[in-house]
């Protein structure tokens, strides 16, 4: 199976340190079960008692590549963080493979962070919500920053009723 070879590859070439218990290669109760790579942080007594468990899970459920993407574009500390009002292109595995639009909302929920892009295609307004940690999301590219560096709102839902402002943003009014 493709997933099994992927697991073996990850185990051989992964940079994550092994825990004290060496991972057994097989799980006898299910032949098709996936054995994902172990997180870098070892479990502590506090985590086993449930203290700070959800925060820990939200940090460790994402793959390292996704964590980088989250950190680069959606962390408030990052220099490259996406601002609402910027034009963003998203490349993904499933259809539509490429979507460009105005970033009108960022929903920050750690592992479940998502953002909305709005565009008008063939006189139809189209909004798409993309989840950053989705395995089908391949790339996020910033096309143009918002005019004057920032918009005055965090959520630009008013653009749904203001096509002139949408065209202004798309036309690159500075």
């Amino acid at each position: 199976m493709a997933s099994a070879t992927r697991q073996i590859f990850k185990r051989l070439f992964s940079s994550t340190p092994r825990t004290a218990n060496t991972q057994a290669a097989t799980y006898p109760f299910s032949k098709t079960a996936i054995l994902p790579p172990l997180p870098t942080k070892a479990p502590t007594e506090a985590l086993r008692a449930g203290k700070g468990l959800m925060q820990h899970i939200n940090k460790t459920l994402a793959t390292p590549e996704k964590k980088e993407l989250l950190e680069k574009f959606f962390s408030r500390r990052s220099k490259n963080q996406l601002q609402p009002g910027s034009i963003v292109t998203v490349l993904q595995d499933q259809a539509p493979t490429q979507f460009t639009g105005v970033l009108i909302a960022i929903r920050r929920r750690g592992h479940n962070t998502s953002f909305r892009l709005r565009n008008i295609l063939q006189r139809t307004g189209i909004e798409m919500q993309f989840f950053v940690n989705s395995p089908s999301l391949k790339e996020v590219k910033l096309v143009r920053a918002p005019p004057r560096g920032r918009m005055r709102r965090a959520k630009l839902f008013y653009l749904r009723d203001a096509p002139s402002k949408m065209t202004g943003l798309a036309g690159g009014k500075k």
Binding site: Y27, P28, S30, T32, A33, R48, L53, H111
Partner: protein
């Protein structure tokens, strides 16, 4: 069922008609140590038990820690509830003879250690007999006679196999005193018991009225186990589970799914006994010692066709 009335059946003495806390001696007690070998405490003489479709395993007590979402190997997003198994140990094996001469078998499980200061003397004695620290939650799970677990065994999240289905039982969130619109979903005049009864002169029993809503035991059935993490003792189930965070959840194998499996086994359909992808279940229970020999994190792939590929 044919019964022999010739007196060949054994009479159960009256003294044993009371509940028998049979075999509440834990594995590590001196009486059992003398009889078993010195090598390992659980190296008992009999062969390791195998799960059969007629068996019924014990359940676990876990705490609901929260919810998040996950993506499976097909790229489908789904909600998961995270349940953590904390200090879950077997405190008794129950074998009660019933008036119809069958025996009720159950495994009593207790979870979440608590300070002995807040435990009654009676419960302290009960836990002392089982040689476990005092626990906050105690629950009995009906099992078949082959599924008894030695007293004192620590159960682990490895008990559940990713891909199987479970029932989760918990107390639902209390909503307080609620009106009929929220409680019973009225919207307008309620037409109950037929409006044709002109004037019954009384209120029919079961009349839906305002009152306290929630805070009752609710069972959510057939939740798929998607991931098991024995390092943190977590069971990830797909979907929602009743109750608030950090509340106890009693998890057991899904009755309806197991019933179908038993029926298929009787019909000879070997592939449909357990859900897709599940080959076997830890029997009689998934313990801490078993968890140490297996990989720490196990996940179930999607066992259906991808919803992103168009059907033929």
């Amino acid at each position: 069922m044919l019964r022999t009335w010739t007196g060949a059946r054994q009479r159960i003495p009256a003294v044993c008609q009371i509940r028998l806390l049979h075999n509440s001696q834990p594995v590590s007690s001196p009486a059992t140590e003398a009889s078993t070998s010195k090598a390992e405490p659980d190296a008992v003489v009999e062969a390791p038990k195998k799960w059969t479709p007629q068996s019924k395993r014990t359940g676990l007590i876990a705490l609901k820690r929260g919810m998040t979402s996950m993506w499976n190997d097909q790229g489908v997003k789904f909600p998961v509830t995270i349940l953590q198994v904390e200090d879950c140990q077997v405190t008794a094996n129950i074998k009660t003879p019933k008036p119809d001469h069958t025996v009720y078998h159950a495994v009593q499980v207790a979870a979440v250690n608590r300070s002995p200061k807040s435990v009654t003397n009676q419960m302290q004695g009960h836990f002392r007999k089982a040689e476990v620290p005092p626990k906050r939650y105690v629950k009995e799970f009906p099992v078949t006679s082959d599924a008894h677990v030695p007293v004192g065994t620590t159960l682990s999240a490895i008990h559940f196999v990713p891909g199987q289905y479970v029932d989760c039982v918990a107390k639902s969130i209390g909503k307080g005193f609620q009106g009929v619109m929220k409680k019973w979903g009225f919207h307008g005049l309620a037409a109950s018991h037929g409006k044709s009864f002109d004037d019954p002169g009384r209120i029919f029993p079961g009349k839906k009225m305002a009152g306290r809503m929630g805070g009752k035991q609710v069972t959510v059935q057939n939740l798929a186990v998607v991931r098991v993490d024995t390092a943190l003792n977590l069971v990830y189930v797909r979907g929602q589970v009743p109750g608030v965070d950090d509340a106890p959840i009693y998890i057991r194998d899904a009755k309806k799914v197991m019933d179908i499996g038993r029926h298929n086994a009787a019909k000879g359909k070997e592939e449909k006994i357990l859900p897709k992808g599940v080959d076997d279940l830890p029997f009689p229970a998934g313990t801490d010692s078993l968890a140490k020999t297996l990989p720490p994190i196990i996940e179930a792939p999607a066992y259906r066709r991808s919803p992103f590929t168009p059907p033929e």
